[in-house]
Amino acid sequence: MFLIHCPYCGEDREEEEFHAAGEAHIARPLDPDACSDEEWGNYLYFRRNPRGLHRELWVHVAGCGKYFNIARDTASYQIHGSYRIGERFTWSDAEDSAAP
């Protein structure tokens, strides 16, 4: 059971108040009609699913209702940071070279 910091509420709360919503920073193509089937399929279905550092979208569904991002290690389950939509999060340079 994670302890998750909601960057909007400003509090550490129990995981049961949140839902995971998949990998973060998957931008919708600006012109979907111009996408090939393959490009659209990549946007829809293909995710990095790394072992290690990962940025994820979560929603504080039983709290403020806000979507936000967390930077989490999928092997150790450590959460390195929570940040709002529109913000960026960087690990140290060495760590981040593993991330896209």
Partner: protein, 1031 residues
């Protein structure tokens, strides 16, 4: 029948005259396997059994060998009993070594039938050597089925440890949450020292221990006055120091302490669960249940965790080591010192370390004979050995106890000299007569909790055991958990990690808390001889020929079995464990795992760390389902949602259907009506007069903001640009993959204000979906969503009389067809209540949906019935609603769709506006090449050739009923009903290429042998022109 207490007291032939932490003034009478016995308050069930000379507590799982009590704590593999005073409180799988004795307790063994002493299973067991080889279960399952049946009877009788009651549990359980700065697991010397150090920082500290009182190993070791191996802490007797520590902790308001509570799980981010046995008195004794909580599950979030879980003594593996009377050395000491119970009269000790000598001292102190201490070490020298010799105890070094002798219990020990590496026997054996054998192979740190979050234990040569591996959690470990068994070291460890655990806050506190003083130990045990890493003792014969040498008592895993599996080619410890079921009992192999790994290592010629590690998962000990469920049972198991008119439906005799958490009226049977009769009546009354449906469960979302219209155009497939205030529109919502996700009618209240409805089950998901897009992709759109599902009561009246009925209750809404047309929306008053009325229809008939504030719902509902009689107003439920909508070919998302259906598959292309400026959600997805294939499954009507037969929903369609199996399936039925109004069955289904194939036949081969024939048709069975609704 009354029993003379003096007789029962006298029966405790193995109870010492004095000593122990028991209350001889509080005798407790209990039963074991039907026998009445006596013990004292302070006893565990195990100590009371031993006091009464009960040596056999069960039969082993595979071989049906008699088994006795081995340990004195949580690691006990054998004394797993069935306890319960009544049928409904039967509790299997209780460790007698942990269960406090209760007056009136009813207990019995689980694995011996008809009784543990003389067991039919032993017949089976005597065949066992040949029959029940390693991998028995895997091999058995590969036999022909006919062979399996002959085993099944035995396995069903033998498998499992006891039985659960099938009656409802009458007791109460609950959960409690804790948020603490420091959680200390284990109240032995290390944990107490840690809790003391942590508590001085002023932080919130929770100290938990599985035993009924604090003290850990001090409960049975180190008593300076009476015993040869004496220890004192800060010049106090060890248990005095414990009492003093507990007093200090209990006086601190920031410290909470739980006893008889097992921390069973260590989960991510320092979330731990602990299982507290508060009061099993009523359940186990058969008296009436009293109010109060029997067991409690604690959910603990801790800033830092101190693990002081100690270690479990490993019994040595030798031939016939499972005979009743073979125990661990520390258990012998604990029974003598803590419970004043002597397990026998003549003791042989075999120990590979100095600690095992304690058992001999305690035995001698109790006035019984110590036959010999067998020490495999060659010429060891230490205080303990010197003291033993001074006390006149025979010590045989360089020797091993290779085999126990006896049938139902130990009667002798076979001893032989061994080589220095303890790999083979070097001389003749001699038999020592004895009735108890105490062994110590060393101590396995209780690393279980440290593994739960994925950290793997690492082998420590000095500790001769696995110790906790690295972790990312804020976790501290000390004492015997690290292999530090000396009392002084445990206290020093505890003080240090207790202070460290508080220091996560600031440096200042770290300095402050490190000042906490380390308790000082005075000990007569001044020199120690190095322990020997001995696991399996050699025998003059190879282990395949020697009597069985047990490694895992619960699953009857033997050294020979493990060696055989390595010969069969198993090399990975994970495979060997599974093949032999090593460590798969309810004790998770607490005593057997390391011994088993050592035998694998020996067989493979590897070192123990090369063989691998052993990882434990939650839970540390089995937890009752009652505690897991807590108060979430019966009506609190899952929340139920009721509409404002729920009580009316109950009174009207409605049968209810669960839709998500909602209770919806399913149908309203009258008198002796069957379900189909009720539905036919409701349906005809609605089609011919007027019916009324409670539609309050529909999801409702209030949408406001200048960009609301633009937003709707992006999330719905159709166009919203021109929807005027006062108008409604049906919309389909798709995922980005182009598949239908939800549908509903949305009304325009004002240019910047809309009222969206969703399916009953989809409401929460749709709101999250809208928020997702607004928050993450289009934050520039100025718009807010509010769930108003529970704020509005929604009453749908449908049928040709609905206008006349509504007209009686409103004077400010013009209901004429010209003023209030189909898909219009009006505000006004109904029965004097401010209402939003939508002229929409899910039946195809003239219909109004009246929305009023929820707390007025019943008023309006009643008002409709007050004047409804003359119009034939009839309540109908969800089943009739389904028939009515299916007659019109209206879909239900989630029933006629399954996440793989596009609007075009539903022939709902009319609801898709491909020319909208913004590429709405789902548009690109539904244009992918696979979504435009011609042979996709498409929604069509299905007319069964026999109009009286309703095709089962889910039935698979084939084109050629004569095709041999496996047949080519071309689709399935999604909705199917009998329509009383049409006088025939109707159905819808998704059929490959169905839209082009109307008029063709498909067949439904059913499980019962029938094959139904149906014709593909338009799904609108009633009034295809739509005349009925537009009056």
């Amino acid at each position: 029948m009354s029993i003379d207490p003096n007789y029962l007291r006298a029966n405790q032939g193995f109870r010492l005259a004095d000593g122990g932490r028991i209350d001889r003034g509080d005798p407790l009478i209990f039963s074991f396997a039907g026998r009445r016995l006596m013990g004292y308050r302070g006893d565990t069930l195990a100590s009371a059994l031993l006091a009464n000379g009960v040596r056999i507590v069960g039969r082993s799982f595979k071989y049906a060998r008699p088994r006795g009590i081995v340990c004195a704590g949580v690691e006990e593999p054998n004394a797993i009993l069935q306890i319960g005073g009544r049928e409904e409180t039967q509790t299997p799988n209780v460790r007698a070594t942990e269960q406090p004795l209760i007056d009136g307790m009813v207990t019995r063994p689980v694995n011996g039938w008809p009784n543990a002493d003389a067991d039919l299973m032993s017949i089976f067991g005597s065949l066992g050597g040949a029959l029940m080889t390693p991998g028995f279960y895997y091999k058995t399952f590969m036999f022909p089925a006919s062979r399996w049946e002959s085993y099944e009877w035995f396995i069903r009788r033998a498998a499992g440890l006891g039985k659960s009651s099938k009656l409802p549990d009458p007791d109460r359980y609950d959960h409690m949450n804790h948020h603490v700065d420091v959680l200390v697991v284990g109240a032995g010397p290390t944990g107490l020292a840690a809790a003391l150090a942590a508590s001085e920082s002023g932080k919130r500290v929770l100290l938990i221990d599985e035993r009924s009182e604090a003290g850990g190993s001090l409960l049975w070791s180190g008593d300076a006055d009476k015993y040869a191996w004496g220890e004192a802490i800060d010049a106090m007797l060890p248990m005095q120091w414990v009492a003093n520590a507990v007093r200090r902790l209990d006086a601190n308001p920031q410290v909470a302490r739980l006893t008889h509570t097992t921390v069973t799980g260590y989960h991510d981010h320092n979330f731990l669960t602990a299982w507290e046995r508060r009061d099993d008195t009523c359940a186990f004794s058969g008296s009436d249940t009293v109010p109060g909580t029997r067991q409690r599950l604690h959910k603990i979030r801790a800033a830092s965790v101190v693990l002081a879980t100690g270690a479990h003594e490993r019994p040595l593996v030798f031939a016939n080591n499972d005979l009743p009377g073979c125990m661990t050395a520390s258990a012998v000491s604990e029974y003598i010192r803590r419970y004043a119970v002597i397990p026998g009269n003549r003791l042989v000790v075999m120990t590979a370390n100095d600690g095992g000598y304690r058992a001999a001292f305690d035995w001698k102190q109790a006035g019984r004979e110590v036959v010999a201490v067998i020490d495999p070490r060659h010429d060891p020298d230490s205080s303990a050995i010197q003291q033993a010799r001074e006390a006149g105890i025979t010590v045989l070094t360089g020797s091993a106890l290779v085999e126990a002798r006896g049938r139902k219990g130990v009667t002798g020990a076979l001893v032989a000299p061994i080589n220095k590496l303890a790999t083979f026997v070097t001389g003749d054996t001699r038999l020592l007569a004895c009735d108890t054998i105490a062994t110590s192979g060393g101590w396995s740190p209780a690393v279980h909790l440290s593994c739960h979050t994925g950290s793997r234990p690492v082998w420590d040569d000095a500790a001769i055991g696995f110790v906790p591996g690295p972790t990312t959690e804020r976790r501290y470990a000390g004492g015997s958990l690290l292999g530090h068994h000396a009392l002084a070291q445990c206290l020093a460890d505890g003080t240090e990690i207790g202070a460290q655990a508080c220091s996560v806050y600031s440096d200042e506190q770290r300095e402050g808390s490190i000042a906490a003083s380390v308790p000082q130990v005075q000990s007569s045990n001044t020199t120690e001889a190095a322990p020997m890493a001995l696991f399996a003792v050699p025998h003059p014969k190879p282990s395949s020929r020697a009597p069985k040498q047990f490694v895992d008592f619960q699953n009857d895993v033997t050294a020979a079995g493990i060696e055989q599996s390595t010969r069969e080619g198993f090399e990975s410890i994970e495979h060997v464990k599974r093949y032999n079921a090593l460590g798969f009992g309810t004790d998770q192999g607490k005593t057997g795992n390391v011994n088993g790994m050592a035998i694998v290592a020996r067989a493979l010629g590897k070192t123990l760390p090369e063989v691998g590690t052993t990882v434990f998962r939650p839970n540390y000990t089995p937890v009752t389902m009652g505690a897991v469920g807590g108060a979430h049972v019966r009506e609190l198991f899952d929340p139920e949602r009721y509409t404002p008119m729920h009580r009316w439906h109950v009174k009207a005799g409605a049968e209810f259907e669960n839709v998500g958490q909602w209770k919806r009226p399913w149908y309203y049977p009258q008198g002796n009506e069957s379900m189909s009769e009720a539905i036919a009546r409701e349906q005809l009354a609605t089609r011919n007069g007027v019916g009324i449906l409670d539609a309050s469960t529909l999801g409702k979302i209030d949408i406001r903001g200048p960009d609301a219209r633009e937003f709707l155009a992006r999330v719905y497939t159709n166009s919203w640009a021109k929807l005027a205030p006062g108008r409604c529109r049906y919309g389909l919502m798709c995922g980005e993959d182009g598949m239908v996700m939800d549908d509903g009618v949305t009304a325009c209240l004002a240019d910047d204000h809309f009222h969206m409805t969703t399916t009953t089950g989809g409401a929460a998901h749709v709101l999250s979906w809208l928020e997702l897009w607004q928050q993450t992709e289009w934050p520039e759109l100025d718009i807010f969503f509010t769930s108003v599902t529970d704020q509005w009561a929604t009453i749908s009246i449908a049928g040709p009389n609905s206008r006349a009925l509504l007209d009686e209750l409103t004077d400010d809404i013009d209901l004429s067809a010209e003023a209030f047309g189909f898909m219009d929306f009006r505000t006004g008053h109904v029965a004097g209540i401010a209402a939003r009325v939508f002229r929409i229809s899910f039946t195809g008939d003239l219909s109004y949906e009246i929305n009023v504030p929820a707390h007025h719902g019943q008023t309006v509902w009643d008002a409709l019935f007050n004047c409804g009689e003359r119009y034939g107003l009839t309540p109908y439920g969800t089943e009739t609603m389904h028939v009515l909508r299916a007659e019109k070919g209206f879909i239900i998302v989630g029933q006629d769709t399954d996440g793989s259906v596009t609007p075009y598959d539903l022939d709902h292309g009319w609801a898709v506006a491909g020319n909208k400026p913004f590429s709405f959600i789902g548009k690109r997805g539904m244009q992918r090449s696979d979504c435009t294939r011609e042979e996709r499954k498409q929604l069509v009507g299905l007319k069964c050739s026999d109009p009286n037969t309703v095709i089962p929903e889910g039935a698979q369609a084939v084109r050629d009923p004569a095709q041999p199996i496996p047949m080519s399936m071309v689709g399935h039925v999604t909705s199917s009903y009998y329509s009383a109004f049409l006088g025939r069955s109707i159905a819808m289904g998704v059929i490959k290429g169905g839209l082009k194939r109307k008029g063709e036949k498909v067949y439904f081969p059913l499980a019962d042998g029938r094959t139904l024939e149906a014709t593909l048709c338009d799904p609108v069975f009633l009034d295809p022109e739509g005349a009925r609704g537009k009056v």
